[in-house]
Amino acid sequence: MLYEQELKTFVEGTTNFFEVAAQQPASIGSPYLMEGSPAVHEYTGVINISGKREGVVYFTAPKAMLTVLLMKMQENDFSHETMKDLVGEVANTISGNARRDFGRDFVISVPSVLSGEKPQIPQKPGVRSFIIPINWRSHSAKLIVSLT
C-alpha cells in the first residue's frame, strides 16, 4: 500500500514545477482511482521506479496547457520537441523531489517522454493507479502514480 507522504512527494514535485517555472502555482483536484486503461493527454513524461516500491509515475498534459506554460516561461518556440522537453522537465522535477524525500530506498530512472494519446506506458499488472488532477489556470493535467 502506498503511503500518503509518498503520494504527496510526487504531487509537490509537480506543483513546485509550475510555481518555479511559471511563477503561478498549480492546485490539485480530488484524486481518484484509475479504472480501465490510462487516459493520457498529448504529452507524457514517465519515470520508472524500483526498490522499495516498483512501478511508474507519469505526468500527462494537453498541448494547450503546455503552450500557455511555455508562453509564461517567455519561450517563443512551441515546437513538438520543445513540448516534449517541457513535459520531460516536469518529470525530472518530480524525480528530483522523490530522490530528495525517499533517498536510497527508491531507485528512480531518468525521465522518458512519450507523445500521442495512446502511448505504451508499462503498467505493472495488479497495481492500482492513483490519478491526481493538476489544475493550472483553466487547464488540467494529470499526475498518475502506479506503484506497488
Partner: protein, 717 residues
C-alpha cells in the same frame, strides 16, 4: 595485549636511552682525557726536543771558550768569538729556563743540570759580560793585552777550566733528561693509544647500541604501524559507529567509517554529543540523552543498571538522505565506560543502525495483526450466509465505484469539493450499515475510518484536492480488503461443498470474485436473500454494543419484492441502529418508567392496497421535539429563533436532514447524522413516502409506504 606491548616498548626505550647516555659520557671522557694526554705529549715532545738541543751546548760553549782563548793569546781579533760565545750562552740559558718552566719541570732529572748550570753560569758571566778593549797597541811592543784584557783572558781560562770539568757531566745530565723525557713521551703515547682504543671500543659500542636501538625502534614502529593499520581496518569494516566521549562529552579524534555513513557527516572531532543529536531528535529526547550521558561519568553508576535505563536503545532520527531530503532511521546507542586509574577515562559509544530490524519488526507485527484479522474475518464469514455475503460484496463494490466516481468529478473550488462530501457519506454509510448487519467488523471498521476522514474534511474551513489524498488511499485499501474477503468467501464456500446448495453458492461466489469491479450494482435485480437471520444477528450485536436489552420481531420480509430488497434492507438496518442507540432505554431506565427490562422492536412488511408498507416500531424513549430542536441548534442546522418557531411536525422532519444527529459522539452505530437522511432519500427515490409517529417515553414508529408499480416494473425489467 596492546598495553603489554607498550610497556615493553617503553622499557626498551629507557634501556636504550640509558645505554646511549653512558656510552656518550664514556666517549666524552675518552676524548677529554685524550685531548689532555695529547697536550701533555706535545709539551713533552717540545721539552724532549729542547733537552736534545741543549745537549750540544756544553760542548759548543767549551769549544768557543777555547777559540776565544786562542784568539786572545795570539792577540787576534776576539770580538766575533766573544759574540758567538755570548749568543750560545744566552740561548742555552734561555732554553734551559724554558725547559724548567715546561712539562719537564716535574722531572727530577732537570734539577741536576740546572744546579750545575747555576754554578757554571757565574763562571761564564765575567767572560760573556766583557765589553772592554782587550788589547793595547803600541808602536814598539805591538799589540799586548790591556789590563782589562788580562782579566778577561784569566776569566776565559777559568771558564775553560770549569768547562773542561763540567761540560761532560752537564751534557750527560741533559742526555739523561732527554732520555727521561723520551720515556715519558713514550708512556704518554702508549696511554693515548690505549685511550684511543678504549674510545674506538666505546664508539663501536655506541654505534652498536644505536643500531640496536634503531632496530628495536623500527620493529616497534612496524608493530605500531601494523596495530594502527589493524585499528584502521577495524574502524573501516565494523558496522557500528564507534567513538569515544571525553569527560566534557566531546567526541575524540578517531571514529569508525560507519558513523560517517550513519550521520552523513565527517566533522566529529571535538563535536559534543549534544550537538551530534541536536537536529536529529526532538528536544525532550535530547535532554534525556544528555542527562543519561552525564550519569555515565558517575563513579557509582552500575554499568548493567545504566544499560537497562538507556534511553537511546532505539532512537528514531531524521537524517539527511544525501539528496537534500531527510529520512527516518532507527539507531541504537550502546555505552561502555573505559576505566582508568582515576575512574572513568572515556565512554565508548557504539551506534548501530537497526532500521531494518525495526521495520522488519513493524512488518512482522503488522503481518501478525493481518493474520489475526484474517482469522477473525474467516470466523466471521463462517457465520454469514454465502448468498448474503456475495450480495453485500456486490453492493459494496458498486457503492465504492460510485465513491470513486464522486471523487473523479472535476472540482476546483471549496464548494465543489464540499459537495462531494455529502455523496461520499451516504455511500459509505450504506456499506457500513450492511457490513455491521452481517457482522463484518473488518469492513465496517475500515469504512468507519473512511467516514471519519470525510467528517474531518467537513470541519476544514477551506477544502482542496490534497484533503482527499488520504481518502483515496483508504478507498484503495478498502477495495483491496473487499477483494481478499471475496477470495476468502469463495474458498470457504468451496470447503462447504458438502452442504446443501453449496455448489451453486460456490459458483455464485466464484463468479462474483472473478467479475471484480464489474459486479452488478445495487439497483440491479438479484437473488432475494433472507434478511431475517442477518437482522436478528445485528440486533443481538447492537444490544451488546450499546448495553441494551431488546427483542426483535420480524414479519413479512419474505414478501419484499426483489427491486425493493436493497432499499428495505438499508432502511431497516438504519432504523434498527437508531432504535438501539436512541430508542430503547437501558434496563434500569425502563424499570424506572415501569416498563419491561427487555425492549421490543418490531418490523413488519406487507402489501397495502396498491403498494407496500413497512412499519418499524420500538417501545423505547420516543422522540421529544424539543430534544430534536436543541440538537439541530447545536449542530447549527437551524437558528434558535427558527427552533422556537418550529412546530412538532417540522421538528420531526429534522430527523431526515443531512448531518442531523442527537448524538454528541460519533460511534460505529450513530452520530454522523447521515442515516435517516439516506433512508428518506432512498424511499423518495423509489417514489415512496416516510412518516414518523412518536410518543415520548412510550414508542417511536416509522412507516414507509412504497408504490407497487415500480416494484412490478423493476421486477419485470
Amino acid at each position: 595485549m596492546t598495553r603489554a606491548a607498550g610497556t615493553a616498548r617503553r622499557r626498551q626505550l629507557v634501556t636504550a636511552a640509558g645505554l646511549g647516555t653512558v656510552l656518550t659520557v664514556v666517549m666524552g671522557a675518552v676524548l677529554v682525557m685524550g685531548f689532555r694526554l695529547a697536550t701533555n705529549m706535545r709539551a713533552g715532545i717540545g721539552a724532549l726536543q729542547a733537552a736534545s738541543t741543549l745537549q750540544t751546548y756544553p760542548e759548543e760553549i767549551s769549544r768557543q771558550l777555547s777559540t776565544l782563548r786562542d784568539r786572545l793569546e795570539v792577540r787576534a781579533y776576539s770580538g766575533q768569538a766573544l759574540a758567538d760565545l755570548q749568543g750560545t750562552v744566552s740561548r742555552f740559558d734561555q732554553k734551559l729556563n724554558q725547559l724548567a718552566g715546561s712539562h719537564a719541570a716535574d722531572s727530577p732529572q732537570l734539577g741536576r743540570p740546572l744546579l750545575l748550570w747555576h754554578q757554571y753560569a757565574p763562571v761564564l758571566d765575567p767572560v760573556v759580560s766583557f765589553t772592554g778593549q782587550p788589547y793595547v797597541d803600541s808602536d814598539t811592543a805591538g799589540s799586548s793585552l790591556s789590563r782589562e784584557g788580562r782579566a778577561h783572558y784569566a776569566a776565559v781560562k777559568r771558564a775553560q777550566l770549569f768547562a773542561s770539568d763540567s761540560a761532560g757531566p752537564l751534557q750527560a745530565q741533559l742526555a739523561a733528561l732527554s732520555a727521561t723525557l723520551q720515556r715519558s713521551s713514550s708512556d704518554a703515547a702508549a696511554r693515548l693509544r690505549t685511550l684511543l682504543l678504549a674510545g674506538v671500543l666505546a664508539a663501536l659500542s655506541l654505534a652498536g647500541a644505536a643500531g640496536y636501538f634503531q632496530l628495536t625502534r623500527s620493529k616497534h614502529e612496524r608493530a605500531a604501524l601494523e596495530a594502527q593499520e589493524q585499528t584502521r581496518d577495524i574502524l573501516k569494516t565494523v558496522r557500528e559507529g564507534l567513538f569515544l566521549l571525553d569527560s566534557e562529552h566531546h567526541i575524540g579524534t578517531v571514529w569508525s567509517d560507519a558513523l560517517t555513513r550513519m550521520f552523513s557527516r565527517q566533522d566529529f572531532a571535538g563535536l559534543s554529543f549534544e550537538r551530534l543529536l541536536k537536529d536529529l531528535v526532538p528536544p525532550a529526547t535530547l535532554t534525556t540523552a544528555t542527562k543519561y550521558i552525564k550519569l555515565l561519568w558517575g563513579d557509582r553508576a552500575h554499568e548493567n543498571l545504566m544499560k537497562s535505563i538507556n534511553p537511546l536503545g532505539q532512537l528514531e532520527v531524521k537524517i539527511d538522505n544525501g539528496h537534500g531530503g531527510r529520512e527516518t532511521r532507527y539507531l541504537q546507542f550502546d555505552f561502555h565506560r573505559v576505566m582508568g586509574q582515576d575512574g572513568v577515562k572515556h565512554v565508548l559509544c557504539a551506534v548501530g543502525d537497526i532500521t531494518s530490524s525495526v521495520l522488519l519488526a513493524h512488518e512482522l507485527e503488522e503481518s501478525q495483526e493481518n493474520a489475526s484479522a484474517q482469522v477473525d474475518m474467516m470466523l466471521g464469514l463462517l457465520h454469514v450466509d454465502p448468498l448474503q455475503l456475495v450480495s453485500f460484496l456486490d453492493t459494496a463494490d458498486s457503492s465504492l465505484k460510485l465513491v470513486n466516481t464522486i471523487l473523479k468529478e472535476p472540482a476546483r473550488t471549496d464548494a465543489e469539493f464540499r459537495k462531494k462530501l455529502g455523496g461520499l457519506f451516504r455511500e459509505l454509510h450504506g456499506i457500513k450499515g450492511e457490513a455491521q448487519a452481517l457482522n463484518l467488523k473488518s469492513i465496517a471498521g475500515r469504512v468507519h475510518t473512511l467516514e471519519d476522514m470525510v467528517s474531518e474534511c467537513k470541519k476544514k474551513p477551506e477544502l482542496s484536492g490534497s484533503d482527499f489524498l488520504p481518502m483515496v488511499l483508504k478507498l484503495d485499501e478498502l477495495l483491496a480488503h473487499l477483494r481478499s474477503v471475496r477470495e476468502m468467501a469463495a474458498r470457504l464456500t468451496a470447503l462447504k461443498d458438502t452442504a446443501p446448495g453449496a455448489a451453486a453458492m460456490a459458483a455464485a461466489a466464484g463468479a462474483a470474485a472473478a467479475s471484480g469491479a464489474d459486479a452488478p450494482g445495487r439497483s440491479q435485480p438479484r437473488v432475494v436473500e433472507d434478511l431475517s437471520p442477518t437482522l436478528l444477528a445485528m440486533a443481538k450485536r447492537l444490544a451488546a454494543d450499546n448495553s441494551k436489552r431488546f427483542r426483535l420481531t420480524l414479519g413479512g420480509l419474505a414478501d419484499v419484492p426483489p427491486s425493493y430488497a436493497a432499499t428495505i434492507k438499508d432502511c431497516i438496518i438504519q432504523m434498527l441502529r437508531n432504535a438501539a442507540v436512541h430508542g430503547i432505554e437501558p434496563p434500569e431506565a425502563r424499570r424506572a418508567n415501569t416498563k419491561q427490562d427487555i425492549g421490543l422492536v418490531s418490523v413488519h412488511f406487507r402489501k397495502n392496497g396498491d403498494g407496500y408498507e413497512l412499519v418499524f416500531e420500538d417501545d423505547g424513549a420516543g422522540i421529544a421535539a424539543e430534544t430534536l430542536k436543541a440538537a439541530a441548534v447545536r449542530k447549527q442546522l437551524i437558528s434558535e429563533q427558527e427552533a422556537a418557531e418550529m412546530d412538532t411536525r417540522a421538528a420531526m422532519a429534522l430527523i431526515f436532514r443531512p448531518g442531523f444527529s442527537t448524538c454528541e459522539d460519533v460511534s460505529m452505530d450513530a452520530g454522523r447524522g447521515v442515516g435517516m437522511d439516506i433512508v428518506a432519500r432512498s424511499v423518495y427515490a423509489l417514489g415512496g413516502k416516510i412518516g414518523v409517529t412518536t410518543h415520548p417515553g412510550r414508542f417511536t414508529r416509522f412507516k414507509i409506504v412504497l408504490p407497487a408499480g415500480r416494484a412490478a416494473s423493476s421486477a419485470v425489467a
